[in-house]
Symmetry: C2
Subunit: 634 residues, 2 copies
């Protein structure tokens, strides 16, 4: 085992400072390009206006140009009559002002007397309604400073100021090289151990946003000689090299040695999490960065290091992170050894942003898709308490976040369907965090969600949901929107090879079970049914193995990771499993009474009570929706 | 005069609602493209995962895969010894887990005994350190809803979920047609009345940001038949037509008639200011929008209407306006007939955003370049009082705004030079609002600026600046940073054709003067000198004609709009004017004592006391900087 396990743990800011010092002579050369093609480029020099705009006096309105002295006596009692060609010239907005004139009277203030005569009833003030020469831009004036990223409006001002070509830094050409023996091109027939390569595609797309020009290389297998050859060649043709994978301390880690063979490693290991094993170096006078293979680590290295390097090569400093202040819906712990990036969902509840850290069960790439923002826990802190006011780096616009309905609670695929139907309507989106029914109740109690989805069986009364709401949220008026009744049952492989027909059979047949997490309605139901049957949970193999959604439990069974699990009919169908009904349960929505008036909630209720939605329920099967939309207020 | 003066005044929201209803059948067709090329495109269908990711159980760490049952007895006292090939398999992060194993032990927890044997001192918990199949993405799971704009991270999740091609709406092809007899291509030799065409270049660049694919047409002169021909042809090849200019009620307004000839005008006139005369119509089953010619109007029509239309054609709703809350530094009045867009500068002073409406003297295109944000005054309001808390649509990131040093006060070109030198350093930018010395003092008093620049002569003591600070800001500790002494003088045309050698000569020679605005130090100096000489300001032609900067006064003289003006030496030199010294004055910086500790201010002081800056002053001439950087605190 040949592993590079000695990583440094230098702070992000320090790492960047050191690296910039090392690559300070590698900045991009300057090129001259057409102004109208300069969007997103960085000015290499300050840019001054070559001409004034306007370069003559012009009318600011539609009307007539006059010599103001001829109008001084005008009043309602004594209108002044003016003749075209003699006393006035008709002008439109932008027209030049004749030399003898010093004011423009608006068309609305003219009384037409004949084809070429008008009367006015008040005098014109000298220079009224005239855009003076240079009013917009004065020759010699600074239009843009150096190191400025050119925006569309800048292009307008530059051309108006007579600047038709600009000096900018060349766009860095970036080589994106995916490496690893285990990664395969999308479309390849997959065998166990293969990983579909997609990081490079994300990188290319990010580099485009950062203002670079990226080229994706073919996958390079873990062959040291080959890797050296490819990197050497790339470093001669590109301005920045990104090597993906192979920068963790794994066996197949050639990246560091490749760089050391061709050039120099300056930093290996930065105190960020995820993203720690990043390598910063130089090969053939070109910066090279090795990015960890785990997609979430890769993303944070791109956003926090590569983005800055692409900017730095063009003499630019990135300043576009956007933050809002939010309240944390639960405690976040973090190591004081790292700057930690925690993905969060955001909701705007009662005029406050609520940040809900994304549950651990969430997948890697999907958690990035679902994240609304990132909490950056500084190196010196060990985390934040629940309820803390924190700064969140937002990944969406505030408008989007404010138009997001936050649902925290128990998951069902029908939420995805409702989410999709709502998105189609345009304005609102549904964002759901899957923390189980009890998690939803607690979020509702703490005013951290718009609504909760739940299916909680009260063991005493046998009633669903209402007893829990009354017990846990006694001081808030909560309405219950009836959603669906759904069948919960055992999901087993097609053909039911172990012939499991009841909960008892799990133990009898020694089947491998996969459970749901604590606090989930499905788990409470399981425990209730097991108790009724007098089964000790300890007898079930895999009782402690937790998954977070119905569909992921179904997937475990489908791929023979388990023999059975408890879940809803639709999840079994999607995964092509057999289904043994165990109980019918009530899956409802708990929502503070006053939220029923919110526009987004109204649209959401429209969606779930629509024909289209019910048709989708029929397609899935296993749902009874005869009470759907009934609102219970007490 | 043939003018379309009857415009409707429908609200922005209503106009868009009506227009969308009219063009609802003109949405873009769907196309299938490679996932990795889909950044910025809008999903036409919900997208579900085709495979799970990972599609097998894999190791989450580097270590050994084991059957947990074999480890249950391990403790510090009784280590368990495991043999490679028999009891364990070495795995790296991402490696598949062999069928007989159900846990991974991290390499850090292994005690190496021999080449193929290790000992462990605690048991492995079943499923520890294993990334379960489908942990990230489960087959059949919704990855993206319909009507979603695809981001780089989405591309990763899609490919990971086995989705290599996506159904998206085609990008709308947008024809940008500049029209008008007065507009000319950049580079044409200019004659009075010409306007350089640049709006179309701004539009093309904005359309790119909006997710459309724009083509700029050659300028079409105001020839009705020609315009009809060009629009007709464009409407057959493009998905959206933008006609620029000709939509105000001016004489040369053919746009409306062009549309009416080929199709239908739905709306002409929307209650926004600027931007009112916009036209929304349809030609040959393609939406067509006529955009006013004034660049600022054009910009707001693009941002508030065209952007939404480009999105709507792709089934998308724009949600990316970003707002912050700021305090208004002065009263803003607005007509209750319009939704009004007021450009503002933003500063972050003492933990509050301050919004300073951009002065009226500011030019059109430059005011867009300089604007940090836009205050949207709703139709039903007549404005806001000074100090009001308002929402500002920000055009820069909050980071940029927070790294902006706000200077409100008297203008001098040396501020532009300092601004450029500061920008080059990377982090901070200087943003200066030119409102004259008194305006600066008041902003400082109201805590609305980081510092003020001023040159105010106390008529009693003959001393500069300090008496004003003491008088107007008695309750705040203000430091005075000595900046420069500069010569103020009369700027006259090269060769001094009217032979003006003193202020008296302005009256004697009947010269046309151009003055500075009230409250400016230059105006106070003029009034002081006139009083000393016993000259009645009323005798000066143009005494009431106000301009806002030295350089624009100089430009007026250079282009023969005036015969003389009072200003600084450097402005006269830039504009190639002769200069008759009148007085030496002290141009200084007033700054609250505590701000001297701000990092941005320190960098600013470094810049103005640098050799490079002084060299620039020498180049300009007319500045005495021997006291530069001296700080007077009392």
């Amino acid at each position: 085992m040949d592993r590079n396990i000695y990583l440094s743990n230098i702070s992000l800011d320090k790492a960047i400072e050191i690296y910039f010092e090392k690559i300070k002579d590698l900045k991009m050369p300057i090129e001259v390009i057409k102004t109208y093609e300069a969007k997103g480029r960085i000015t290499a020099k300050p840019i001054f206006a070559k001409i004034s705009s306007p370069f003559y006096n012009s009318s600011a309105v539609d009307g007539i140009a006059v010599d103001s002295k001829k109008t001084f006596t005008a009043s309602e009692k004594n209108p002044v009559r003016l003749k075209e060609g003699v006393d006035y010239t008709t002008v439109d907005t932008g027209d030049p002002i004749p030399d003898e004139c010093d004011a423009v009277i608006m068309v609305e203030d003219l009384i037409k007397v004949s084809e070429d005569e008008v009367e006015i009833i008040k005098p014109a003030i000298p220079w009224q309604n005239i855009r003076q020469m240079g009013e917009d831009i004065v020759e010699g004036q600074l239009i843009l400073p150096q190191s400025h990223k050119i925006r569309p409006v800048d292009i307008g001002a530059l051309i108006a100021g007579g600047v038709f070509e600009v000096e900018v830094y060349k766009k860095p050409k970036v080589a994106v090289i995916p490496t690893g023996t285990e990664i395969v091109e999308p479309g390849t027939e997959l065998k166990v151990g293969d990983i579909i390569e997609f990081n490079s595609r994300v990188f290319v797309s990010l580099i485009d946003e950062y203002g670079g020009d990226a080229t994706r290389f073919d996958i390079v297998k873990d062959d040291f000689e080959k890797l050296v050859e490819v990197v050497d060649k790339a470093s001669k043709e590109f301005d920045l090299i990104l090597l993906n994978a192979g920068s963790s301390a794994g066996r197949e880690d050639y990246s560091r040695k490749v760089i050391e063979t061709l050039g120099e490693v300056y930093i290996h290991g930065v105190a960020i999490k995820p993203g720690k094993p990043v390598i910063l170096g130089k090969v053939n006078q070109k910066p090279i960065i090795c990015i960890p293979g785990f997609p979430v680590s890769a993303f944070f290295v791109m956003e926090n290091i590569v983005k800055k390097v692409v900017a730095y090569l063009q003499g630019y400093d990135v300043k576009d992170k956007r933050y809002i202040q939010a309240y944390l819906s639960k405690r976040v712990t973090s190591s004081s050894k790292y700057l930690e990036f925690v993905r969060v969902k955001l909701g705007f509840i009662e005029d406050k942003y609520i940040a809900a850290p994304i549950e651990r069960g969430a997948g890697a790439t999907m958690s990035l898709v679902k994240a609304d923002g990132v909490l950056e826990v500084p190196e010196e802190l060990e985390g934040y308490e629940k309820g803390s006011k924190v700064n969140i780096n937002i990944l969406k616009s505030e408008d989007e976040i404010k138009n997001t309905i936050l649902c925290i609670g128990s998951h069902d695929v029908i939420l995805d369907i409702a989410s999709d139907l709502l998105s189609k309507k345009g304005k609102f989106t549904l964002s759901s965090a899957h923390v189980g029914s009890m998690g939803g109740i607690l979020a509702l109690k703490d005013r951290e969600t718009h609504f909760a989805t739940l299916h909680l069986l009260d063991l005493q009364s046998g009633e669903y949901n209402r007893p829990y709401i009354k017990r846990y949220i006694p001081n808030r008026k909560i309405a219950l929107i009836k959603f669906v009744k759904r069948i919960q049952g055992l999901m087993v492989k097609k053909g039911n090879p172990l012939n499991i027909n009841s909960l008892e059979d799990i133990v009898k047949k020694g089947a491998r079970f996969v459970n749901r997490q604590k606090g989930s309605g499905t788990r409470i139901l399981l425990d209730y049914e097991l108790k009724k049957l007098g089964i000790n949970p300890r007898e079930i193999i895999g009782y402690d193995r937790e998954d977070y959604t119905h569909i992921s439990v179904a997937a475990q069974v489908a791929k023979n990771n388990a023999d059975c699990g408890l879940g809803v009919y639709s999840a079994a169908m999607i995964m092509g499993l057999d289904f043994i009904p165990v109980a019918m349960e009530e899956y409802d929505i708990a929502i503070p009474l006053e939220y029923l008036e919110l526009e987004g909630i109204k649209q959401f209720i429209d969606v779930i009570t629509s024909k289209e939605f019910k048709m989708e329920l029929d397609k899935l099967g296993g749902y009874d929706y005869k009470d759907l939309g009934k609102i219970i207020i007490e």
